[in-house]
């Protein structure tokens, strides 16, 4: 080493100054105090840096590794200037109104960071204070429909408003023929007035109103309005084919009224009796005390017999259960002034008779509020049919379609299509490219109702307002603003409504207006709506206009979730089970068991139905208990073929061609020329495939007579036999009980109030970001609903233990509904079996799921006796296989930010809306008080139109739930599967039937 050539580090080394010599052994003489701490030991100068180096190397490696696994960066853009009324994380509520094709709901819109995410009922309204319809619940997703029109279209090409306005106005000024605005029922007084003004401006104008599911005959028989039915005042209700709880006129208010007189308690031991004569098994029929299947062709005879019998004399027409008929007549006679007869028929003769029966019964002024008729349906079949003829005759110069899609939903859709070609100017205001919009020259897309101002008068003297909860997402324009523009006005529709409402204002207008907008409703009795003049002139006849029928008769009916099909592209509604058939994603031909056996048809066989008019439709058969023999039923709203409605495309068949047109009326039934099997099969995605209760004590019912006699005997309580005699199962337990110190959340479900509509299931779906899985996965029995409504039919006559017989529903079964969600068991079978403790009990009685901890063994789901747990079989968000709202940025805006979107492979279930519980507790804490009863409500309870679900704190003796439980203990309160001692926090109340 010594003879090596020496290179100096610098002149200092050469000179070897004392300064240099002092630091020579340091590699970095001045800058790095590496060995300050342990400098005294010479060896440490060597080892310590190496260790440090290794530490740093290790840290660096780990850091680099960690950095490389970091989740992708997601942008969260803060407000540069915070809007005054938007607090991140705090919801804003706006009162508004949902109205679509008869379905009216006064609502509150929940918005988070400017996005509407949930619809809840507006308790200020007296028409619909209690709940919402499923379609109103789901309507918030229509706002974020990726298939909504984003700009105006001219001849199928995207355009801009200036060009569209220019062209429409120039064509209007030189129009050759009548100008027609075709709409479904408009109950907006201001819109109505604006349409009239538009008509005055264009001259030679007609406003044609039609309803896809028309009640034209009812209007004709009652002077152009729907009688102000009040089911709450009726002790006896006789419905002839009117599905007033599901689809007829205004189901949400009717449900509320109906159930008012159905609730029983120790203080009120009486309830209405409900007779239903109908063809298909409707939701209303399922709730009836006495249900008689009839054919549509028997309706007139039945009503005539009823009319005659009320005058004394007259008997049940042939083929109709005479015992039930006699009982109905007897009850009606005994309850004059407290009885109501309704009919869903669109035969003017039937409706005229029904109106006269109601007069005979003294219903007017009692069960029919003559001062407050309903306006929610005003369509006039004759007017629409005349318009279609005029269009084909070439006498229409311009036509505007507003919330109307006759190229799809009119029985004469093909004539609408052909007629449209002869019209010079065709404009549609559709929000989505529907069948009619795709045929017109100009599409001036309307705003979603959540982006619009509007006003409504669903019932005479009951006004309500819709206010926008979000600015228009796309370059759409409210239809009324389009009309104002084309009228040459520079006002916005907001100004227009405001001015219009001055008519009904009291006191200072600004204060009045602010309050009206805030409340969403004005129920001062003031009325603004000018009725459609044509509605009043609808035919009122005494002879039947319905063509005579022989052979099989088909009925076209409306489903509660689908309506006439305007919401068909909404995946939430498609995935919602039909309340009766529990089928999703498509329609089918319902057929009675005996007819199916006669034709050797099994469920899922595709049937080809040929009408006497020569039209054919093909749909799979569904064997429907309760279906009148000799009839088939098919739901409207399906069978869409447009690519612009990808969710609805290819599901089921279009039923409108089956409706018959005769004598200026549309009949939603008709004779079938031929019903045959095509040989193909198509599976129906039902969420429940076993339909009877198998004599099990999981859902309980009893009769009113028994209840009146002794309310303590209507419910069967299971007792276990021990050496000390029979004891309550909960007294024998392996486990210690939980101690609840603060709250103990619980739920009561009154089976007597539940009508089975399914609004709760949808509300839960929306509140909790439950994924939509699509038809194939529902067929695989993997729907994700946290809450379901079990529907059981009574079984055929059988002896005890005859399992093979009791598997089959009776031909005309009684039906019972049981909402089923996590029972939040105090001794939960799921909690003990999870290997990683991902599901456990909260200190407030809630059975919790820690999604992050779940590894997905599904043991909990297997061990759940109620089968309420749902597993994420796939990733349902951001997955092209599940191309619904969770797979696009727009659709994701509807997600509730308070609830996590679950990952693939984890279990989920009802959480008792724990996010709402926490919010309620936090708000109370902030105000330094206890949460008030009723402040914390689960989504299902909030959206129930019949108040069948009570949620609350069972530790608070003053809470409603505690009082109900105290009252019903030992009478109607029971736990499902009490004998396995799960000790649920959900209690059911026995259903009571008022049998005749």
């Amino acid at each position: 080493m010594q003879d090596r050539i020496k290179y100096w580090k610098g002149i200092e080394e050469l000179e070897n100054t004392p300064e240099f010599a002092k630091h020579a052994h340091n590699e970095f003489p001045e800058f790095l105090p590496i060995n300050e701490a342990k400098g005294e030991s010479p060896s440490s100068t060597v080892t310590a840096p190496r260790r440090d180096f290794l530490k740093l190397l290790g840290f660096g490696l780990a850091a680099a590794t960690l950095a490389s696994c970091e989740a992708p960066v997601r942008k969260a853009i803060p407000y540069l200037n915070k809007p005054v009324d938007v607090e991140p994380g705090v919801a804003n509520w706006y009162a508004s109104t949902y109205f679509s094709h008869g379905d009216y709901n006064s609502i509150l819109v929940k918005t988070r960071e400017g996005r509407p995410i949930k619809i809840e009922p507006n308790p200020t309204s007296s028409v619909t204070p209690l709940g919402t319809s499923p379609r109103a619940q789901a309507s918030v997703l229509n706002l974020y429909d990726n298939n909504r029109l984003r700009a105006p279209f001219i001849k199928g090409k995207e355009s801009d408003w200036a060009k569209l306005d220019r062209e429409v106005m120039s064509k209007l000024s030189s129009v050759n023929g009548k100008v027609v605005l075709v709409s479904s029922t408009v109950i907006s007084p201001s819109t109505k007035q604006l349409i009239d003004e538009f008509g005055v401006k264009t001259g030679n104008f007609e406003h044609v109103v039609y309803d896809a599911n028309s009640v034209s005959a009812l209007l004709g028989a009652n002077g152009g309005v729907i009688p102000g039915y009040d089911f709450s005042k009726a002790n006896i209700i006789v419905s002839i084919g009117a599905d007033f709880l599901g689809s007829w006129i205004a189901p949400t208010p009717f449900s509320k009224q109906y159930i008012q007189n159905r609730k029983v308690s120790a203080d009120k031991k009486d309830m209405s009796r409900h007779y239903q004569f109908e063809t298909i098994l409707s939701l209303t029929g399922a709730n009836a005390d006495v249900r008689v299947p009839i054919k549509p062709s028997q309706e007139l005879a039945l009503v005539q017999a009823l009319s005659n019998s009320l005058g004394g004399g007259g008997s049940a027409p042939a083929g109709i259960d005479s015992k039930a008929f006699a009982a109905a007549v007897k009850d009606l006679n005994a309850n004059r002034g407290k009885a109501l007869v309704v009919s869903g028929s669109n035969d003017p003769a039937v409706q005229t008779l029904v109106a006269s029966i109601n007069r005979t019964l003294g219903a007017e002024g009692t069960t029919i509020d003559t001062a407050a008729p309903y306006f929610v349906k005003q369509g006039n079949d004759a007017q629409m049919l005349r318009f279609i003829d005029e269009m084909n005759a070439g006498s229409i110069g311009a036509v505007f379609f507003y919330k109307a899609n006759p190229a799809y939903d009119h029985p004469l859709a093909d004539k609408v299509v052909s007629g449209l070609k002869k019209v010079g100017l065709t404009v549609s205001f559709a929000e989505i490219m529907d069948e009619t919009a795709s045929l017109v020259e100009y599409v001036a897309p309307d705003n979603n109702y959540l982006e619009s101002w509007n006003d409504f008068e669903p019932k005479k003297g009951f006004l309500s307002i819709a206010q926008p909860a979000i600015s228009p997402i796309f370059t759409t324009r409210q239809m009324q603003d389009s009309l104002l523009t084309w009228n040459g006005s520079s006002d916005t529709f907001y100004d227009y409504i405001r001015n219009n409402w001055r008519k009904v204002a009291t006191g200072d207008f600004n204060t009045f207006w602010e309050k009206s907008v805030h409340d969403g409703v004005l129920e001062s009795g003031a009325t603004m709506l000018r009725l459609n003049p044509a509605a009043a002139t609808a035919a009122a006849a005494t002879t039947s206009a319905r063509p005579a029928a022989s052979g099989i008769e088909a009925v076209v009916y409306e489903k509660i979730q689908m309506g006439p099909g305007y919401d068909a592209n909404n995946p939430w509604l498609q995935e919602m089970g039909d309340p009766i058939t529990k089928a999703t994603w498509g329609n089918y031909i319902t057929i009675s068991r005996s007819d199916a056996e006669a034709g050797s048809i099994v469920q899922g066989d595709v049937l080809r139905l040929t009408t006497t008019g020569g039209k054919t439709i093909e749909a799979p058969a569904l064997i429907q208990p309760g279906q009148a023999v000799g009839t088939v039923g098919i739901a409207m709203g399906y069978g869409r073929t447009l690519d612009t409605m990808p969710v609805a495309k290819g599901l089921g068949a279009n039923a409108f061609p089956v409706a018959t047109v005769a004598n200026n009326s549309v009949f939603f039934n008709g004779p079938v020329k031929q019903l045959e099997k095509t040989g193909a099969t198509s599976e129906i995605a039902q969420m429940q495939t076993h339909h009877t209760i198998m004599d099990r004590l999981v859902v309980q019912e009893n009769t009113l007579a028994k209840y009146v006699e002794n309310p303590k005997e209507v419910t069967e309580y299971i007792r276990l036999t021990t050496h000390a005699g029979k004891v309550k199962p909960s007294t024998i337990s392996l486990w210690d009980d939980y101690e609840y110190k603060n709250h103990h959340w619980g739920m009561v479900v009154d089976l007597n109030s539940c009508i089975g509509c399914g609004a709760c299931t949808l509300s839960c779906h929306i509140e909790n970001n439950v994924p939509v899985v699509g038809k194939a996965e529902v067929l695989n029995r993997r729907e994700m609903h946290w809450m379901r409504i079990d529907r059981y039919y009574s079984a055929r006559e059988h002896k005890e233990g005859e399992y093979d017989v009791m598997e089959h529903p009776a031909d005309n079964p009684t039906v019972i509904f049981q909402p089923m969600m996590c029972q939040h068991c105090n001794h939960a079978p799921c909690e003990t079996v999870c290997p990683v403790a991902a599901t456990m009990h909260s200190s407030e009685g809630i059975n919790q799921m820690a999604y992050n901890r779940c590894v997905g063994t599904r043991y909990c789901a297997n061990n759940c006796p109620y089968k309420v747990r749902r597993f994420n079989w796939f990733a349902y968000a951001n997955n092209d296989k599940f191309d619904y709202n969770m797979n696009n940025d727009l659709g994701k805006m509807v997600l509730n930010p308070d609830v996590v979107v679950r990952a693939r492979g984890v279990m989920e279930k009802c959480s008792f809306c724990v996010q709402r519980v926490q919010l309620g507790k936090l708000e109370a804490k902030r105000e330094n008080r206890r949460p008030k009863d009723g402040e914390i409500v689960s989504a299902c309870a909030q959206s129930c139109p019949t108040d069948a679900i009570i949620f609350g704190d069972m530790l608070d003796p003053e809470s409603r739930i505690s009082k109900v439980l105290a009252r019903e203990q030992g009478e109607r309160a029971f736990h499902v599967l009490e004998e396995i001692n799960t000790q649920p926090n959900v209690t059911y109340l026995t259903k009571i039937r008022n049998l005749a």
Binding site: H691, R781, P829, V855, K867, A875, A903, G905, M907
Partner: protein
């Protein structure tokens, strides 16, 4: 030390010598792979490929690739798991319990049976991991210290007990099997001619010298492991059965399950051992070591366990009736007459009726009949688990949730795939590892072999009696 009745049939036939044993067993290890073996391996590899593809689909897309649904949360996955675990019972039973009971006939079959156990448990262990929704978090079921605060596993959960039971069983079985292999690896090492083989078997034999001390330790460890493994034979399936027995589902919630499952496991394990042995002895010409006596003995165990299982099936029905619990009653009536009646009656036929044929001595001693019946038993035991799992779940308490289960191609692929995996492992084992425990067979040669006159090849090592630990002699180095 032991008195062996002269009437007793010899356990090793053909007048084998110690050298013959070495030659016969090492022949397939040292020879070039034969065509039949290669063809079999090719088929097994196809099965393994199916396994890989099905597992890829399951892991990449999710458990939704299987036919499970909201009502039936377990089906083929856990059926296969229990089936494979059951099959994995025979090896340890033969090695451990029979060792403790000094059953000398076990010596020629224990190696293959233990190997089968290991491979079956490997196949079984796939399912608890694969059936998880998030298998990448499978380690969360282990009570590992973590940074999540007081987050810990749930010791109430039978699934957690499963984790412990299966992992313990696998570890003990593996060690037991491997310890047994060491002297034989040493024999092969010493005979090996190629450098790779010599090196590989040297590593595998852990430097076995064959000294008296080594044999002493070998025997001690074997005995200790046998002692440890014996309760495991009973505990594994007891705990597996508790997955079901501790639940609330009718058809699962049954106290009879632990003994019934253990008997069923031994039943299916013996059937699988027989299935494999009958082929192996034929292919590898080991008829003198795995004799009809062995087969008959094992068939007797099959009659016994099959009858226990049959009695258990009947007891379940009796208890369902006797309890008067309607859900329980329905669960069993539904098994026999419901939509899955065919699975139930397949199970009854295969598990209860066919094994009873073994009461006939001719059938018991017929290779063809035994082979067919053991296949039946394998099928029947698979159906037993399917019946228990699927028919109990598909119709439990609330009729609204009743549903059917049907497997997807991926379900089938994973199952068939594990069979492929199993045979791949087994064939590799059969080729490269000694399939018969040479050392132990040699130990019983003197006492239990068929004498052939004249002895042209007098053994020059002292015989061992059974596995008695005090008669240790170095024989492995004197074979050549």
């Amino acid at each position: 030390m032991q008195h062996v009745s002269p009437i007793r049939e010899p356990l090793v036939t053909g007048g084998k010598t110690y050298h013959d044993i070495t030659e016969d067993v090492c022949r397939q290890v040292e020879a070039k792979p034969n065509m039949r073996w290669a063809a079999a391996l090719a088929v097994a590899l196809v099965g393994f490929a199916i396994f890989c593809y099905s597992v890829y689909r399951t892991l990449w897309f999710g458990i939704g690739e299987w036919g499970l649904n909201k009502t039936v949360g377990w089906a083929w996955d856990i059926t296969n798991f229990v089936w494979w675990v059951g099959i994995g019972h025979a090896g340890t039973l033969i090695s451990a319990i029979l060792l403790l009971f000094r059953q000398k006939w076990r010596t020629s079959i224990n190696r293959a049976a233990e190997a089968m156990t290991i491979f079956a448990v490997i196949c079984a262990a796939m399912f608890p991991v694969l059936h998880m929704g998030r298998p990448w978090l499978a380690y969360w079921v282990l009570p590992l210290p973590n940074t999540f605060g007081s987050l810990w596993v749930n010791f109430n959960s039978p699934l957690l007990w499963d984790v412990f039971a299966i992992s313990t069983y696998f570890s003990v079985s593996l060690v037991f099997w491997y310890i047994g292999l060491i002297p034989d690896f040493a024999t092969i090492r010493d005979r090996a001619t190629g450098p790779i083989a010599r090196r590989a078997y040297a590593i595998l034999s852990f430097g076995w010298t064959g000294s008296a001390k080594a044999w002493s330790r070998y025997e001690t460890v074997s005995l200790i492991l046998a002692g440890l493994a014996t309760p495991l034979v009973l505990s594994v399936h007891t705990i597996v059965s508790m997955d079901f027995a501790t639940s609330v589902i009718p058809g699962w919630h049954t106290t009879i399950f632990p003994p019934y499952f253990v008997a069923g496991a031994i039943f299916s394990g013996f059937a699988m051992v027989l299935t494999l042995m009958i082929i192996t002895r034929k292919v590898f010409k080991l008829e003198d070591y795995i004799t009809l006596e062995h087969i008959e003995s094992m068939n007797k165990v099959i009659i016994l366990t099959g009858s226990i299982v049959g009695v258990a099936y009947i007891t379940e029905f009796f208890i369902a009736w006797y309890s008067q619990v309607e859900y329980e009653q329905y669960a069993f009536i539904n098994r026999a007459t419901g939509p899955y009646w065919w699975a139930y009656w397949s199970m009854m036929t295969c598990n209860v009726i066919t094994p009873q044929l073994f009461w006939v001595r001719a059938i018991r001693r017929s290779l063809v009949a035994t082979f067919i019946i053991t296949i039946f038993v394998n099928i029947g035991m698979w159906f037993e688990r399917f019946v228990i799992i699927v028919t109990s779940l598909h119709r439990d308490y609330l009729p609204s949730s009743w549903a059917m289960f049907s497997p997807t191609s991926i379900d089938i692929g994973v199952y068939v795939g594990t069979i492929g995996l199993f045979f791949t492992l087994f064939l590799l084992f059969a080729k490269y590892f000694p399939v018969v425990n040479m050392a132990e067979v040699k130990a019983i040669l003197k006492s239990s072999s068929e004498r052939k006159q004249p002895h042209h090849h007098e053994p020059h090592a002292k015989a061992m009696h059974g596995s008695a630990k005090h008669t240790i002699t170095n024989i492995s180095h004197s074979n050549e």
